[in-house]
């Protein structure tokens, strides 16, 4: 199957329109970010506490927010996490300057609201860790081992605790006693003792933590440096490998891609965290990659057909690489799409950036990078009176100007 065989589309005919449209897109994206009011900055950069909770029953986020407010936490941010039927939410709270974060306060509030007053000698199988469970079993001593052999008792109960909590790992949350009595290799005495004394709470903490303000500021700085430096270095790379006009075009394409993607990203309310920076850097890499392939062809064609005008060379090159551009974007989109739809909640924002980035990056390598390279050419050389092509022979394709002659003969 060949998509584009010998196409002759005049991509550059409406270059001014494309340039204007792209600039408008960027402006629109910036406006969108400001109108929307905020980027959803994650705790990586803002600092703060985060707790991921899975409930037995579908949680009501408004009710949850009210409960937290009632307990004195009024600036919590509550979002659904994962599919609707997974009953998961993520709760984030900002952190005071210099405070040490702690998720136990949030857990205590949830406990009071969803599990009621715990029994004095109880143990919540959905919240406790395996060491704590081992201690608890040691206290219950269903094997009646302690009187004879403390060490053996400890060993036995630690093993049993690992078994029980190993089972919790499967679902993240026990929802009934049959899940515990049905554990392979677990003695009925243990299961019975737990069923009579312990509880199965109505939620479990799947993960969480906090980032202190100092670390947050540091990660912000590092993220910013990574983006700025990589864009600079890529510009430099293109400038060295190609010519200034291409470098300018490629850089504008990067800026375009980053802003347009960022605008959509903000509108979707995804959390902006460390891995999003990674996604944006990858997007920059991909965008340049796509642009480079087109420019590489332009350079090659300029060597071969010295008579053609710059605009014709651009058009020919874009048409020649069109098939590749579409196909590579296609396969990358397939992979990133799979990641977006099946990769899970943690990677959702990350793959969204790449998904949008691949589409925008493909568009920009033709309509932004090439169009602006041409506009730059026209702007800087109109004054000298020559047509756009004349410049090429004196501006020269730097590196391979001399070599191209020989090549043409050889091939």
């Amino acid at each position: 199957m060949e998509f584009f065989k010998n196409t002759h589309i005049d991509f550059m005919k409406y270059r001014l329109m494309w340039a204007a449209a792209s600039a408008a897109l960027v402006v629109l994206a910036i406006v969108a970010i400001f109108v929307h009011g905020k980027l959803n900055i994650g705790i990586d950069f803002a600092g703060g506490t985060e707790l991921i909770v899975r409930f037995q029953d579908a949680p009501d986020t408004d009710k949850l927010r009210a409960e937290l407010t009632a307990a004195g936490i009024d600036d919590a941010q509550i979002q659904r996490f994962g599919d609707a039927d997974s009953h998961e939410v993520v709760i984030r709270t900002p952190l005071d300057e210099d405070a040490e974060g702690d998720t136990s306060e949030l857990l205590a509030i949830l406990n009071a609201n969803y599990n009621g007053e715990p029994a004095a000698d109880g143990f919540d199988l959905n919240l406790g860790g395996s060491d704590a469970l081992a201690d608890y079993l040691l206290g219950l001593d269903p094997f009646e081992l302690r009187a004879n052999d403390e060490a053996l008792a400890r060993e036995e109960y630690e093993r049993a605790a690992k078994l029980v909590l190993g089972q919790r790992k499967v679902t993240g949350l026990f929802s009934g006693w049959d899940e515990i009595t049905g554990i392979d290799g677990l003695e009925p005495e243990i299961a019975t003792a737990l069923e009579s004394k312990a509880q199965i709470g109505s939620f479990a903490a799947l993960g969480g933590g906090f980032v202190g303000p100092a670390i947050g500021a540091e990660l912000r700085m590092k993220g910013l440096l990574a983006v700025v430096f990589s864009i600079l270095v890529m510009m430099l790379y293109i400038w060295v490998r190609f010519e200034l006009r291409f470098g300018v075009g490629a850089m504008l394409a990067i800026v375009h891609d980053v802003f347009v993607t960022l605008g959509l990203f903000a509108l979707m309310d995804f959390e902006f965290n460390l891995s999003i920076i990674a996604a944006f850097l990858t997007l920059v890499g991909y965008s340049v990659n796509d642009t480079v392939v087109v420019f590489d062809r332009v350079r090659e064609n300029m060597r071969k057909t010295r008579r053609e005008s710059f605009v014709d060379t651009l058009n020919t090159s874009i048409n020649q690489t069109l098939s590749r551009t579409i196909l590579t974007s296609g396969t990358t989109l397939l992979a990133v799409g799979a990641l977006y739809f099946f990769g899970g909640e943690v990677l959702r924002g990350f793959s969204f950036v790449l998904l949008v980035g691949v589409i925008v990056g493909t568009y920009s390598s033709i309509f932004v990078a090439s169009a602006f390279a041409l506009l730059w050419e026209e702007l800087t050389h109109r004054r000298q009176g020559g047509d756009s092509h004349a410049s090429k022979s004196n501006g020269g394709s730097k590196k391979s100007g001399g070599k191209s002659g020989r090549r043409a003969v050889a091939s």
Partner: protein
């Protein structure tokens, strides 16, 4: 087959075999990051100023003591910074004597007279050495505690050279609050004589103590607080004790500590002194019979029993503890005190179920994405597509092999990186195949078209991949943890795709074309 083709084939086979073997079985050979296997990640900051202040305190004490022996009494001292203090109340003509004392006992300190004061400053390289030692001791102590907790494969490192931060990665930890408690506990144990109330016990308010001393505390006495708890370990009220400021017996003098049961079957900590510590403890207890002995942990009184007789070798700590508390307490006492308090700067916990979910979803996305890409390549390039699919599979083997070979850690973003490379790795193939098609259209023979296709596409492939590699480099440089994992898989994936698409794919073409002299058609 020409011999160069044979050698190339052997070379490819060797590399692929090595990589496949180093990655197989995947479950054992690939290091999973904490975000996939579950566990706890901690960044701690060692408050080195604690250690510096402790050193400053000792210096002041020493100076006052030695000066007192020389007959210079009534000195007033005041700390002016973590590594500096001033002494007042000394006449100028005593400077030479103080200088001699400072030279002998405070060798690491510099001093000068400033008007009516003597200003002492710790030499800066000595301050650096103390700070560095505090961080190293803290690292060792925390290592010991984590080992005692039984965490498997923990990684505990100092962040950067000369920094005050420690990073701990603790796989499989499912009770983050307890671990935080244990790691963060300074566990500085002291035994101090209680001056008031006589017999220990404590009183309900500070005023009561002050009243006993007529409003002002003697210079060698300070007030410490302690909790009164009920049987369940819940705090009922606070008690106050007037205790001597200095203590000659600390946690360092313990040989061992372990949990035990007291006479009412209540959980207690039993400890044994070292030989030297036991002797000093014997002296103190025999000199202070009838008084209270405060057991002070991190500047809070745990209990203050009455000294009934001379004690030399062992003792118990009783303080309405729960079983879990005495276990943790005896553990931190065994592993020793932290030289300075630590503050937790960052903590991330991933439960095992969340990690497993991520792995499952990653595999699902990878399989689905890979299948779609394969279908796409077969559809577009027909039989030649098989070539691309084959090298793509090799590419994935190489990525996992390289991860295992270099001991890199696979994180969730790392999985995303691999899936992304599946999509991007075919780019090199696409560039080459499109070029071959063009050359065929231009009327070349199959053999020449393949040759030209590879040759002409190479410069594009190198330029294009260089930029993505640059991005990966910056990510690695500035990223932390999981993001680094992404950078690594992305970079490895790109390098592997260069090898497979340019070298291996070419070899397959050459193999096929070498079979017959003239190939008329290429299914592309």
């Amino acid at each position: 087959m020409s011999s160069s083709l044979k050698w190339k084939g052997l070379f490819i086979l060797a590399i692929v075999t090595i990589m496949a073997l180093s990655a197989w079985p995947l479950k054992e050979k690939i290091n999973l990051g904490l975000d996939l296997r579950g566990g706890m990640y901690l960044v701690l900051d060692v408050k080195v100023e604690d250690a510096l202040r402790a050193d400053r305190g000792k210096a002041i004490e020493r100076l006052v003591e030695e000066a007192g022996d020389e007959g210079m009494t009534g000195l007033e001292t005041e700390p002016t910074g973590d590594t500096s203090f001033v002494v007042r109340g000394l006449a100028v003509d005593k400077d030479a004597e103080i200088g001699a004392i400072a030279k002998e006992f405070l060798g690491e300190w510099e001093w000068q007279r400033r008007g009516s004061e003597l200003a002492f400053d710790l030499k800066s390289d000595e301050a650096e050495r103390l700070a560095d030692m505090a961080v190293r001791q803290a690292l060792q102590t925390i290592r010991n505690r984590i080992d005692a907790l039984g965490v498997s494969e923990p990684v505990i490192q100092r962040q950067g050279l000369g920094g005050t931060r420690l990073v701990a990665q603790l796989p499989g930890v499912d009770d983050s609050e307890r671990v935080k408690e244990i790691i963060g506990k300074t566990a500085f144990l002291e035994f101090r004589i209680v001056d008031y109330p006589l017999g220990g016990g404590g009183v309900a308010s500070e005023e009561q103590i002050l009243a006993n001393y007529g409003g002002t505390l003697p210079a060698n006495i300070e007030i410490l607080e302690g909790d009164q708890k009920d049987d369940m370990g819940r705090t009922l009220s606070t008690s106050y004790y007037a205790v001597e400021k200095t203590s000659s017996i600390t946690g360092r003098d313990l040989k061992t500590a372990r949990p035990g049961l007291g006479q009412y079957n209540d959980p207690i900590v039993e400890f044994m002194f070292t030989h030297d510590g036991g002797q000093r403890f014997g002296d103190i207890t025999s000199n202070n019979k009838g008084k209270g002995l405060a057991i002070v942990l991190d500047h809070r009184v745990v209990s203050a029993p009455n000294i009934e007789s001379r004690i030399t070798d062992s003792g118990i700590i009783r303080g309405q503890f729960t079983q879990a508390e005495v276990e943790d307490l005896s553990m931190v006492l065994r592993t020793g005190a932290l030289p300075a308090a630590v503050q937790i700067f960052e903590q991330r916990t991933v439960g095992p179920s969340l990690g497993q979910d991520s792995i499952d979803q990653g595999i699902r996305a990878g399989l689905f994405g890979g299948l779609l890409v394969i279908l796409c390549m077969l559809l577009v390039y027909k039989l030649t597509g098989i070539n691309a699919v084959f090298v793509l599979s090799l590419n994935i083997v190489l990525v996992f092999g390289a991860l295992a070979y270099f001991g890199a850690t696979l994180t969730l973003p790392g999985i995303a990186g691999i899936i992304l490379t599946i999509g991007m790795a075919v780019d090199a193939n696409v560039l080459i195949f499109e070029r071959i098609r063009e050359e065929l259209r231009a009327g070349r023979t199959v053999k020449s078209a393949v040759e030209q296709g590879f040759g002409n596409a190479l410069s594009s492939i190198l330029d294009a991949n260089a930029t993505t590699l640059l991005a990966a480099m910056f990510l690695f440089q500035f990223g932390t943890g999981p993001v680094r994992g992404f950078a690594v898989t992305l970079a490895v994936g790109i390098l592997a795709s260069l090898f497979t698409a340019v070298f291996v794919s070419r070899w397959i073409f050459d193999m096929l074309l070498s079979r017959s002299e003239r190939v008329e058609r290429l299914s592309i």
